[in-house]
């Protein structure tokens, strides 16, 4: 496909991203002079040690997490919307987010039920992401097996929704039998959190994320082809089954790893691809993939900056902010454009 989008909007978005990144890092409960922040980020040492720790071990990893989460979920959302030819698809609909939540619920809430297996109730940094990835993978496998049995993409969408409902029901049952303190713990996880990631965890996050994003560049051609539907794609020589499995795998891995490290983050995956389509007014994935990567990171950084409630000691749950941001955007899009595209 042709029509290479002009480079200008990309440049502007990139500058905006840089600016937001700096803004995000410079805001927090402890005021640090901007000069010092630049100094620390560029490797200077002539500053207060506590400031250095705050910037390098807390704010910088958090900003990086925001970028990974926002861009990753947006790519997952774009892939889902094109694959299902449905403008309302997103990482949540395949039930993968719910699967990840289920893994975590089983871990936190189920620890009293299965106390024989899980002796400790304390949540280490590692066991939670693993539980979450396990849950995401479980639902993913079920969806992929089901997807290979049915031919119709709409059926896959509905199967995904059903798996989502199933896991939600299982979480309810688990909650019913759990103690208040555990339910509270689970609730806090479900609020989502971009902080709390150590550099070690972040490196694993970055590695998995990079593989998935590179793979998504590899499916640009089948994605473009799917814009005309599966039959045309097939007649243009695209191997539908293979492309379908790769697309599902990318989405699941991205959603799984993001939910594992940051909790279930709503609306970003649904809203950002639409914003990208409006700004760039194209359906070409060669433009849309880099566009959602940038826009997703930008939107997530904005949400995170808002959630810190600048100049206060409180932090709002990030999931509430993304929904507060996302829901009006989708409503506004529908009213203004009258029509959503894939």
């Amino acid at each position: 496909m042709l029509k290479p989008a002009s480079k200008k909007p990309f440049l502007l978005l990139f500058l905006l991203l840089m600016f937001l990144c700096l803004l995000n890092i410079s805001l927090g409960s402890v005021p640090i002079p901007f000069q010092e922040i630049l100094n620390i980020l560029t490797g200077g040492i002539d500053t207060k040690e506590s400031w250095q720790t705050i910037i390098l071990n807390f704010r910088l990893p958090k900003a990086i997490t925001a970028i990974l989460v926002g861009s990753g979920l947006s790519v997952a959302g774009l892939l889902m919307q094109t694959f299902f030819r449905n403008p309302l698809a997103g990482p949540f609909v395949l039930g993968i987010s719910s699967g990840a939540s289920f893994g975590v619920a089983l871990f936190i809430l189920g620890s009293s039920l299965f106390s024989g297996f899980l002796i400790t109730n304390s949540i280490s940094n590692w066991s939670l992401p693993m539980a979450s990835s396990f849950g995401a993978f479980l639902v993913l496998s079920a969806v992929v097996i089901a997807a290979n049995k049915v031919k119709n993409t709409m059926s896959i969408l509905i199967i995904g929704l059903m798996f989502g409902s199933l896991t939600a029901a299982l979480i309810s049952i688990l909650s019913y039998f759990s103690e208040a303190s555990q339910i509270q713990q689970f609730l806090f996880w479900s609020f989502g959190s971009l902080g709390n990631l150590s550099w070690n965890e972040l490196f694993i996050f970055i590695a998995v994320y990079s593989i998935a994003i590179l793979a998504s560049i590899g499916v640009i051609k089948p994605l473009n082809s799917l814009l005309l539907g599966e039959n045309y794609a097939k007649s243009a020589g695209i191997n539908i089954k293979k492309s379908r499995n790769i697309i599902l795998l990318i989405t699941s891995v991205l959603t799984g790893v993001i939910t594992a490290f940051a909790g279930p983050i709503a609306f970003i995956g649904l809203a950002v691809p639409h914003i990208a389509r409006i700004i760039f007014s194209t359906a070409n994935h060669k433009t849309l993939i880099p566009a959602v990567l940038l826009l997703g990171a930008i939107v997530m950084l904005i949400c995170d900056t808002i959630s810190q409630l600048p100049a206060s000691e409180f932090t709002l749950p990030i999931n509430a902010i993304t929904s507060l941001f996302g829901a009006p955007v989708v409503i506004w899009l529908l009213i203004r454009k009258k029509q959503l595209f894939v």
């Binding site: 029509k3 020589g237 359906a283």
Partner: protein, 257 residues
């Protein structure tokens, strides 16, 4: 070039196959406009889907250039055979040019870049279908007739020896329908492609096609309009007696009661 051998078409099901028609033996040559005619539900789409390898035959086989269709890889077949389908396209912001460019996918590299040659083919396809002025229009804003031309251009850009169209005139008025038929006839003459089209526009198809594939309850007949008329093949396609085939004008007419 496209041949069927004892072809049985239908749907494979667990409780025994649902057979639509069997013992189909036709041999299609290049440079012909061929119409598939028959009443509603007789299996025109099933036949076209089988000929284009979208659907597997129950038994028998379809051969393209002496090789069985299923021996071709998806990519190899996409360079031989292109489709224009009746299904609604998903709503997207594709422009006419971009949509036609998707026809070049069998030839583009892994990241879907268009070479100068690809662009030339796309422009040629737009010229042949007379839609160059629509180049930058969004496809969902087009009229049905224009969209049909765009889809035909996409198939032309795919640069295949055979183009199969499933009821391209289904939503068109009389004027547009004739236009599409005349366009297809022109394309066959200019490019020596074989174009196979299913249609309910029987009278038009009889006038403009080189050959007819006529589907009735128990058999499939294949030949030129004149040959089929001499076999009185058209007398039995429709069950009721309101419509009658008039051999002198070679058209169907409403019977005066």
């Amino acid at each position: 070039m496209l041949q069927t051998e004892d072809l049985t078409i239908g749907y494979a099901q667990k409780k025994g196959d649902k057979i639509v028609l069997s013992k189909i033996n036709i041999a299609i040559e290049s440079g012909k406009l061929i119409s598939v005619l028959g009443k509603n539900g007789i299996g025109k789409s099933t036949l076209l889907r089988t000929l284009s390898n979208v659907q597997k035959p129950i038994s028998g086989d379809v051969y393209f250039e002496e090789k069985s269709l299923h021996s071709y890889s998806e990519n190899a077949l996409s360079k031989k055979l292109s489709l224009v389908l009746t299904e609604r396209l998903p709503e997207s912001q594709l422009t006419v040019f971009e949509l036609i460019a998707l026809g070049r996918q069998p030839y583009t590299n892994w990241i879907d870049s268009l070479s100068a040659g690809d662009i030339e083919k796309i422009n040629a396809a737009m010229r042949q279908t007379e839609i160059t002025h629509l180049k930058n229009a969004l496809f969902y804003e087009l009229s049905d007739g224009q969209l049909q031309r765009v889809l035909i251009a996409r198939a032309l850009a795919q640069d295949t020896a055979v183009i199969i169209l499933d009821e391209p005139t289904a939503h068109l008025d009389m004027h547009q329908t004739i236009n599409i038929f005349v366009l297809l006839q022109k394309l066959v003459k200019e490019t020596n492609k074989t174009i196979i089209i299913s249609s309910h526009e029987i009278n038009l198809a009889l006038k403009l096609s080189d050959q007819i594939i006529l589907m009735t309850e128990n058999k499939v007949q294949f030949g030129t309009t004149a040959a089929l008329i001499s076999q009185s093949a058209f007398d039995t396609i429709f069950p009721d007696t309101l419509l009658q085939f008039d051999k002198t004008i070679e058209q169907f007419v409403i019977k005066n009661s």
